[in-house]
C-alpha cells in the first residue's frame, strides 16, 4: 500500500489456473472489478471493493489497484464472496447466462452441473494448489465430487443427517443442535469467532418509534439470556452490543448502554407520554403503542419475535407481528410499511457493520432506520479513510457509541454457526465468513 493509502499493488501467483485450464492473470482481476462497478451489473456489494479510480497491469502477474480515496478496510472487504476473481473469457462467452449456465473459477471445486432447487454437483479442481495458509492441505481437495442437495424442510435435514444419508450440512436447525451433539453418528463443530447478529431495527422516521426513550424501553424490557437459553437452546449468546466484543474495532465503551431493567423501561415510556389504556396497552393522543414488526418467517426470528412480544406486553407495548415467507420478505421489507423489522446479519468487523447500515448514503436500504446524522456520516467517512489502525478504531468507536445511545437497534442474540457432520468425515472446521462454514473444505476427508 502506498503511504497515502490509495494505491495497492497485488503480486499474483503465476501458477493459478481456472477450472477450464486457463491461467489467471492480471487481466482477469482487472476485468472482474470493472464488471463489478459497471452500471449493467449494479453490484449491491460493489462498495466492498472501494472507490476505484483505476486498475492497471504493469505485467501479467501484477495489479495496481488505485483508489480515489483511502479505504481502511479494503483488504478485509476483498475477502468477501462478491470480490471473487472471474474468468474474463468465460463471462464474456456466457453473457447473461453467466452464473446460470456456468461459472469458471480458480477455487478448489469446479461447477459440474446444477439442477435449480434440486442439487448442485461440483467436481475436484485437480490443478488446485493455492489453498489459504490456514488449511493444512493446500489442494487439491480429497474428494472427486461434492454433491449439494437442496432440502428445504428443517425436519428432513435433521432426519437425513441422523440416518447417515449425508456427510455434512451447515444448515442444521438450531433447535436440534442439542440432539445432534449426543447423536453417536454425528459431530457438531461451531465457528469461533462467530459474528452473526439477530437484531430488531427501528424505522426512526415513524412517529411511534421516533423518540429514543421508546426505543430504549423496548430494548431493556427483554431478557436476552432467557431467550438464548429457551428459544435457541443455548446455541446463541445474548447480545448487549451491536458489534460482538471479539470483532475488529468493537468499542468496549458500549458495554452498559443496554442494561435490562423493566422498571426503567416503564418509567421511560411514562416520561415519553405513553400511558396505560384500559386494556393495558399504552396510548398517546389516541394512538396505541402497537408497532408493526416485519421479519422473515424462519424459525429463529419468528420465535424470538414472539418471545419479545411477550416481554413487551408487560410494559404495555403490543408488537403487531408480521412474518413474511422468505420468497416475498425482501419485497415487503422494501416497502418499509413498519415501525420495526428484524434480520440476522453476518459481518466481518465493526466498520463493516457500521458502514453498511448507518451511513445516510444507504437510506432506504440497508439503512432501514432512515438514520440521517451528519456526525455519524463524518465518523464513518473518517474511519474509512483512516491510514492508521488507531484512527479507524477511534472513529468507528464514536459511531458505535452514538447509534447505541440512540437505541436504533435492539441487539438480541449472536447466533452460533455450526457444521454438523457424519463422524466418518474428518478435518472439518467451520468458518465464520458470511455463514459459509464449509468455505473451501480443503482438509475434509473420510
Amino acid at each position: 500500500m502506498s503511504p497515502d493509502g490509495k494505491l495497492y499493488t497485488f503480486k499474483l501467483r503465476d501458477d493459478v489456473t481456472f477450472c477450464s485450464g486457463k491461467k489467471l492473470t492480471a487481466e482477469d482481476v482487472i476485468f472482474t472489478f470493472k464488471r463489478l462497478k459497471s452500471p449493467e451489473i449494479k453490484g449491491p456489494f460493489a462498495w466492498r471493493s472501494g472507490n476505484i479510480k483505476e486498475l492497471r497491469a504493469p505485467d501479467p502477474y501484477t495489479v495496481e489497484y488505485e483508489l480515489n480515496e483511502p479505504f481502511s478496510e479494503l483488504l478485509l472487504q476483498l475477502t468477501m464472496f462478491t470480490n471473487v476473481i472471474l474468468n474474463k473469457d468465460n463471462v464474456e462467452t456466457l453473457g447473461k447466462d453467466y452464473g446460470v449456465k456456468g461459472a469458471d473459477g480458480t477455487g478448489p471445486w469446479c461447477l459440474d452441473s446444477w439442477q435449480p432447487r434440486t442439487h448442485i454437483t461440483l467436481k475436484r479442481h485437480d490443478a488446485y494448489r493455492w489453498g489459504p495458509s490456514m488449511y493444512k492441505n493446500k489442494g487439491p481437495v480429497k474428494f472427486e465430487k461434492l454433491v449439494i442437495k437442496i432440502v428445504p424442510e428443517d425436519s428432513s435435514r435433521v432426519a437425513a443427517m441422523m440416518a447417515g444419508q449425508f456427510d455434512t450440512t451447515h444448515q442444521f436447525p438450531s433447535q436440534f443442535i442439542a440432539q445432534a451433539k449426543v447423536a453417536p453418528m454425528l459431530t457438531v463443530t461451531q465457528a469461533n469467532p462467530n459474528f452473526q447478529l439477530l437484531y430488531f431495527g427501528f424505522k426512526t422516521t415513524r412517529p411511534m418509534v421516533a423518540d429514543k426513550r421508546v426505543r430504549e424501553a423496548m430494548s431493556i424490557a427483554i431478557d436476552r439470556a432467557a431467550i438464548a437459553k429457551a428459544i435457541l437452546l443455548g446455541n446463541a449468546d445474548p447480545a448487549y452490543s451491536i458489534v460482538d466484543p471479539a470483532a475488529l474495532d468493537h468499542d468496549p465503551k458500549t458495554a452498559g448502554i443496554v442494561k435490562e431493567d423493566v422498571e426503567r423501561a416503564r418509567k421511560l415510556l411514562d416520561e415519553a407520554g405513553w400511558k396505560p389504556g384500559v386494556d393495558g396497552i399504552r396510548e398517546k393522543d389516541g394512538v396505541k403503542l402497537a408497532p408493526r414488526v416485519y421479519y422473515t418467517a424462519n424459525a429463529n426470528s419468528a420465535r424470538v419475535a414472539e418471545a419479545i412480544q411477550g416481554y413487551l406486553r408487560k410494559i404495555g407495548v403490543h408488537w403487531q407481528l408480521q412474518p413474511w415467507d422468505s420468497t416475498i420478505a425482501p419485497v415487503k421489507m422494501a416497502e418499509q410499511d413498519y415501525e420495526i423489522w428484524s434480520v440476522t446479519v453476518p459481518y466481518l468487523s465493526a466498520g463493516d457493520l457500521m458502514n453498511l447500515y448507518f451511513d445516510s448514503a444507504n437510506i432506504p436500504t440497508p439503512n432501514r432506520m432512515n438514520w440521517k446524522d451528519p456526525e455519524t456520516d463524518a465518523w464513518l467517512k473518517a474511519g474509512r479513510a483512516a491510514l492508521a489502525a488507531e484512527d479507524r478504531t477511534r472513529n468507528y468507536a464514536l459511531v458505535q457509541q452514538k447509534v447505541m445511545r440512540e437505541h436504533l437497534w435492539i441487539p438480541v442474540l449472536n447466533i452460533n454457526m455450526h457444521e454438523v457432520t457424519n463422524k466418518k468425515l474428518k478435518g472439518m472446521r467451520p468458518h465464520m465468513i458470511y455463514q459459509n462454514t464449509f468455505y473451501k473444505g480443503l482438509d475434509a476427508s473420510f
Binding site: 454433491v147 456427510d167 455434512t168
Partner: protein, 74 residues
C-alpha cells in the same frame, strides 16, 4: 414421528458408485444464480466460495490470509 422422518430421509438418497470419493452435503435453500457480483444472497455465497477465490482470504480467527496473491500473506 422419528420413523416417518427417517423414511423421508431415505427418499433423499443420491446414488453414486460404491467407493467413489463423493462428499454429500445438504443445504436448505438454493440461489437464483451463481453470479457473485449481482447479489447479497447467502445461498449464492457458499457455493461461490467453493468454486472461486478472492485475492485475499479470511482465516478462522477473521484474520486475512492469501490464496492467490502471495504479497498479501501473513
Amino acid at each position: 414421528m422419528i420413523k416417518a422422518l427417517l423414511s423421508a430421509a431415505l427418499a433423499l438418497g443420491i446414488a453414486f458408485p460404491a467407493g467413489a470419493q463423493v462428499l454429500n452435503m445438504m443445504k436448505g435453500i438454493d440461489a437464483p444464480h451463481y453470479d457473485a457480483q449481482r447479489t447479497t444472497w447467502g445461498p449464492t455465497s457458499d457455493i461461490v466460495n467453493m468454486i472461486q477465490d478472492t485475492l485475499v482470504a479470511l482465516d478462522w480467527a477473521a484474520r486475512r490470509r492469501s490464496p492467490i496473491s502471495p504479497s498479501r500473506g501473513p
